[in-house]
Structures are given as structure tokens and as C-alpha cells.
């Protein structure tokens, strides 16, 4: 079996998963959720008002048709209009993706490079005081609520010290830069803890392998062993960990975007939650699931390319 038929087979599996995602969305939002017309019209709405609204929102149609609608929107990207803002949802998403990415993409890259460097460093000094202290700091950092970071960060660095913009956003390069610096910093602090711990585990898994002993017996220097032999093996796991997170970058961070008033997708989701805007929530769910599924295919394929041991079955 060659790589192409593997990719095709892997892509075919996307279909049942996607249909399943639509099914779960349908069950959660169309079947189990309380009647959205009640939320929208309030308790004192008349029966006819409710019926009219249901018809307008196409909620009076048979369940099967409603499910098919969700499936159709997944392939056409036509999600209809938002209940609260009446905007075209695909338009909202298009406009929101860029601001989200201006925060998440640099934050992702910075934290990736930083975490890998720190974890190589601590793996080199594994078991020593410096390793233990850094790991402890990472765990301690992870133990603080992300909300606390945002609140303190905004309060202290932006409000009191005035180093950063407190909140807001301007589109267009380079105007957005001052607004995204603190959000990026907070994102990096939030992800360094878990990332270093994960990468360290992966790297240490490799450090104790027999081939490392062989490399030492060959007379290679520790640094060559770390950067050449260990890192290349660790990369197999690291790639799968990293690539699968890319779709989440587009989604942005709900909390960070809402606190810093960045008009990204995270903010859109938050508004939709607050206003029970089901079409927007469904659209975001479908899209992020789709992105996740596609990137997991990419991860699997990359995996087979990077790791010569993987035999395609």
C-alpha cells in the first residue's frame, strides 16, 4: 500500500466522522436544546408568535430535513444568518478569522520555539536541580486559572504600568501590533507550562533509548546526540502534537479575545453563547470540527512520512 492510497483511505474516513459530527450537533442543538423561540421571544409570547418564528427559523420542518440542512451547510459553507445580528454567518467568520490569527499565530510560534528550547535544555540537565525547578515552575504555572492571568496581566502590565494597550483592536498591518502584544504574551505564558512538560516527557522517552547509548559509544558529543539523534526521533511525536493544534488557532481564544476586545472568532462564539445564537454556534462547531478532522488527516500522513518505521497496513 503506498502513501497515496493511504491518504485516500484516510480521507474517506472523514465522511462518516463528519456525518457523526453533524449528528451530534443536530441532537444537541435541534433535538435536546430547549426551544430557542422561547428564549428569543420571552415567556409571554403568544402561540402564534412562536409558530411564526419557528417557521421563519425553519424549526418546524421534520427532523430529518433539519439534519440534512446541517450536513448540507457543512459542504456548502452556507450557514445562513445569525439570529442576533442577522449577518451572513460565513461573512462573520471570514472577518473574524484574521484578527484571531494575528494573536494566535505569533503566540503559537513563539511558544513552540520557546517550549522546545526549554525542554531540550531541561532534558540535558535531567534530574538535576535546574531541571526539577523548571518542571516545578511549569506545573505551578499550569495550576493558576487562565482567567487569573488575563485579569492580572491586563491590570498590571496594561493598566498600571501602561506598557501595553488595555484593550481594543485596529485592523491592518502594522496597526494591530500594539493591541496583540499582551494577548500573545499571556497565551505564551499559558502554553509554556503544559508544552514544556509534554516535550520534556517525549524527549526523555528518547534519551533513555538504547540508540542513545550506541551514539555515545560511537564517541558523539552529548549536544550532537541531543540535537541530532534525540530530537529527530522526538520530532515524530512532537509533530503530531503540534499540527493537531493548528485548527484551534483559527478559533482563537475565547477568554483572551473577549477581555482584550479583539474582534475574532472567539468573541463571535462568546456573543453567540450569550445570545443563544444557535446558527452561529452550529456553524462554528461544524467548521472547527472540519478543521480538526482535516488536520488530523494531515497529522497521520505526516507521521507516516516522518517516521520510517510506520508501515502502511
Amino acid at each position: 500500500m503506498n502513501i497515496y492510497s493511504y491518504i485516500i483511505r484516510r480521507l474517506l474516513y472523514v465522511i462518516p466522522v463528519l456525518l457523526g459530527v453533524c449528528l451530534i450537533i443536530f441532537i444537541l442543538f435541534n433535538v435536546l436544546s430547549p426551544d430557542p423561540t422561547l428564549i428569543m421571544l420571552g415567556k409571554h409570547a403568544s402561540k402564534t408568535q412562536m409558530m411564526e418564528l419557528r417557521a421563519e427559523l425553519k424549526l418546524d420542518r421534520p427532523w430529518f430535513i433539519q439534519y440534512i440542512d446541517i450536513v448540507r451547510s457543512t459542504f456548502t459553507f452556507d450557514f445562513g444568518r445569525s439570529w442576533s445580528t442577522k449577518q451572513e454567518i460565513s461573512e462573520m467568520i471570514k472577518n473574524g478569522a484574521i484578527p484571531s490569527l494575528t494573536v494566535t499565530l505569533p503566540a503559537f510560534l513563539v511558544s513552540f520555539v520557546l517550549s522546545i528550547s526549554i525542554s531540550l535544555f531541561v532534558s540535558f540537565y535531567r534530574g538535576k536541580i535546574i531541571d526539577r525547578s523548571i518542571v516545578f515552575v511549569c506545573v505551578a504555572l499550569m495550576s493558576i486559572s487562565s482567567l487569573a492571568y488575563i485579569l492580572y496581566g491586563q491590570m498590571f502590565f496594561a493598566f498600571q504600568l501602561g506598557w501595553f494597550e488595555i484593550s481594543g483592536y485596529e485592523s491592518g498591518f502594522p496597526d494591530f501590533i500594539p493591541y496583540v502584544l499582551l494577548p500573545i504574551l499571556i497565551w505564551v505564558v499559558l502554553s509554556v507550562g503544559p508544552d514544556v512538560r509534554f516535550y520534556r516527557t517525549i524527549i526523555l522517552d528518547e534519551v533513555y533509548q538504547d540508540y542513545v547509548r550506541t551514539a555515545r559509544a560511537k564517541g558523539l558529543a552529548e549536544s550532537t546526540i541531543m540535537f541530532k539523534h534525540v530530537l529527530k526521533n522526538a520530532m515524530v511525536s512532537i509533530i503530531t502534537y503540534v499540527v493537531i493544534r493548528i485548527p484551534f488557532l483559527i478559533l482563537g481564544s475565547l477568554l483572551i479575545e473577549s477581555f482584550f476586545s479583539i474582534p475574532g472568532l472567539g468573541g463571535i462564539i462568546l456573543n453567540a453563547i450569550n445570545s443563544s445564537d444557535f446558527p452561529v454556534l452550529k456553524a462554528m462547531t461544524v467548521l472547527s470540527a472540519l478543521a480538526y478532522i482535516i488536520f488530523s488527516v494531515i497529522t497521520d500522513v505526516l507521521y507516516t512520512i516522518v517516521d520510517p518505521r510506520v508501515r502502511l497496513k
Binding site: S33, S145, F159, L254, L270, I273, L281, T285, Y292, I293
Partner: protein, 288 residues
């Protein structure tokens, strides 16, 4: 079979030995138990029962009289923090149990029976896992309404996939081992094999995962509170941190600090305990 049982018994014994010899782990265990005790005492009304009472001026800063200061309604932040322990520990516990039951059951069934059953379960969790966590949380709380029950279920129903995968993998590895075949030879049924023979051998994974799940749930409760989907009508660390977003700009930092610190200590303890458990129970990771 007997051998395997002995091995697993001595594994637990050694794990316990190595755990109690680790001072850090013991400290963390004591911290966790202390939090549980506090939660139980507060739910019995023995401590912090006056959390809802106005005992002084609004936003009185920390002092010898009001140890952690007072909130907007003049309520004791200390009492609220203690009361919050109740929510946090119950959320951690119930969520952990829900996700454990689902994860172990589906993972065991998929791994043990294989074939079509496995395919369906793998499809189900792959699908489930494709939907962002936050969206599932939101949808489930929409359905269940607000309140602590919704928090339990939302967090529990969304956090089982990782465990399910691990358990499935372990069951696939174990089901063909000699001791399981030996059990089959003396006429053990599937149910017996799953629960009596294989499960004890993968129990360490369940325990490690539980301790991880516990602290993730405590942290997630804060996010739910921020989204307005959290616990209603009684203090939780989430609502305290969430309230603080309006207070901080006015210099009232103590409510945020108290809730953050209370949460950090127990989550940190769980993290370290989880690592120690993993080192003690998973011999192949030992020494790392």
C-alpha cells in the same frame, strides 16, 4: 494467573512504598485530603456557614478582623473561599467519576471485543473528539440549564475520550496475554475476564487519569462561570474570580487572590500527586 495477581499486588505495594517515601507526594496527598475535609465540613455547615452574611463594610480590605477582606456585599472572602472548596472538590470528584465510568466502559468494550463494536466506538469517540470541548460544554449546559448538576454533567460527558483511548489500547494489548487465555480456559465469561482479570491490570491508568481529570475539572469550572454557565446561587472559585474582573480596576484584589491561591494550591497538589502516582504505578516511565 496467580502469578499475574501476585505481580499486581506487589506492584501496588511497591507503588505505595515509593509514594510515601516521596516527601513532596506525601505533602500533596495531605493537602488534597485537607481540601476534602474542608469541603465536607463546609457542606455539613460546620465551617464557613456564615458565608452569605454581611459582616462588615463593602470591600473592606484584608485586616486582622477580616482576614481575606470582604466582598461587595460585606461578606467574608475567607468564608466564600472555604465554601468554594465544596464546589471545587465535588466538581472534580463527580466529573472524574463520570468520565471514568464512560471512558473505562467504552474503552474496555472496544478493546476487548474488537471488530464491529470496536469500529463503532472508535468512530464515536473520533467524532466526539472532533467537536471543540467548549462547544460541547456550551451545548450541554444549554440543554440542562444552569446549575451545579449541569456543570458536573457537562464536564464529565466531555472529558472521557482520552481515558477511553488509553483503556482500549491496554485491553487490546492484554486480551491475548496468557493469563487472560488461562482464564478463558477455565471457563471465564467475557464479563468476568474484563472486570476480574484485565481491569485490575490497567487500573493504574485509570487512577492516574482520574487525578489529572480532577484538576482539569476544577480549572474548567472557572471558565464555565465566566461564560455564565457555572454554579449559581452559591460561591465557587469560578464565580469569585469572575466577579473580580469588575473589582480589580478599583484596587480590590483580595477576592481574586484568595480564589486563585486556593485553586492553585489544590491543583498544584493534584498535579504533583498525579506525577508521583504515574512514577509509582507505571514502571516503564520510572526514573524520568
Amino acid at each position: 494467573m496467580k502469578n499475574e495477581a501476585q505481580k499486581s499486588k506487589s506492584l501496588w505495594y511497591h507503588a505505595w512504598e515509593s509514594l510515601v517515601s516521596d516527601k513532596m507526594a506525601v505533602t500533596c496527598l495531605i493537602i488534597v485530603l485537607a481540601y476534602f475535609l474542608l469541603a465536607i465540613l463546609s457542606s455539613l455547615g460546620l465551617v464557613a456557614s456564615d458565608y452569605a452574611k454581611e459582616i462588615g463594610p463593602s470591600y473592606a480590605p484584608p485586616s486582622s478582623e477580616y482576614l481575606f477582606g470582604l466582598d461587595i456585599f460585606g461578606r467574608s472572602v475567607l468564608a466564600k473561599t472555604i465554601k468554594g472548596t465544596e464546589v471545587a472538590m465535588s466538581v472534580g470528584l463527580v466529573t472524574g467519576i463520570i468520565s471514568m465510568i464512560i471512558g473505562v466502559f467504552l474503552g474496555a468494550v472496544a478493546g476487548y471485543f474488537g471488530g464491529k463494536i470496536d469500529e463503532v466506538i472508535v468512530w464515536f469517540y473520533t467524532t466526539f473528539n472532533s467537536i471543540p470541548y467548549i462547544m460541547l460544554l456550551v451545548a450541554i449546559t444549554f440543554i440542562l440549564g444552569k446549575g451545579i448538576l449541569a456543570v458536573y454533567l457537562a464536564l464529565g460527558l466531555t472529558s472521557w475520550v482520552g481515558l477511553c483511548r488509553l483503556i482500549r489500547g491496554e485491553f487490546i494489548r492484554h486480551k491475548d496475554r496468557e493469563y487472560v487465555q488461562a482464564a478463558a480456559a477455565i471457563g471465564g465469561g467475557d464479563f468476568r475476564k474484563i472486570f476480574k482479570h484485565i481491569l485490575p491490570n490497567v487500573l493504574h491508568i485509570v487512577i492516574i487519569n482520574f487525578s489529572l481529570q480532577f484538576q482539569v475539572a476544577i480549572k474548567s469550572e472557572v471558565i464555565l462561570s465566566y461564560l455564565g454557565l457555572g454554579v449559581q446561587g452559591r460561591p465557587s472559585w469560578g464565580t469569585m474570580i469572575n466577579d473580580a474582573k469588575l473589582e480589580l480596576a478599583r484596587g480590590n484584589w483580595w477576592q481574586l487572590a484568595a480564589a486563585t491561591a486556593a485553586m492553585m494550591v489544590v491543583v498544584l497538589a493534584f498535579n504533583i500527586l498525579g506525577d508521583a502516582l504515574r512514577d509509582a504505578l507505571d514502571p516503564k516511565l520510572k526514573g524520568k
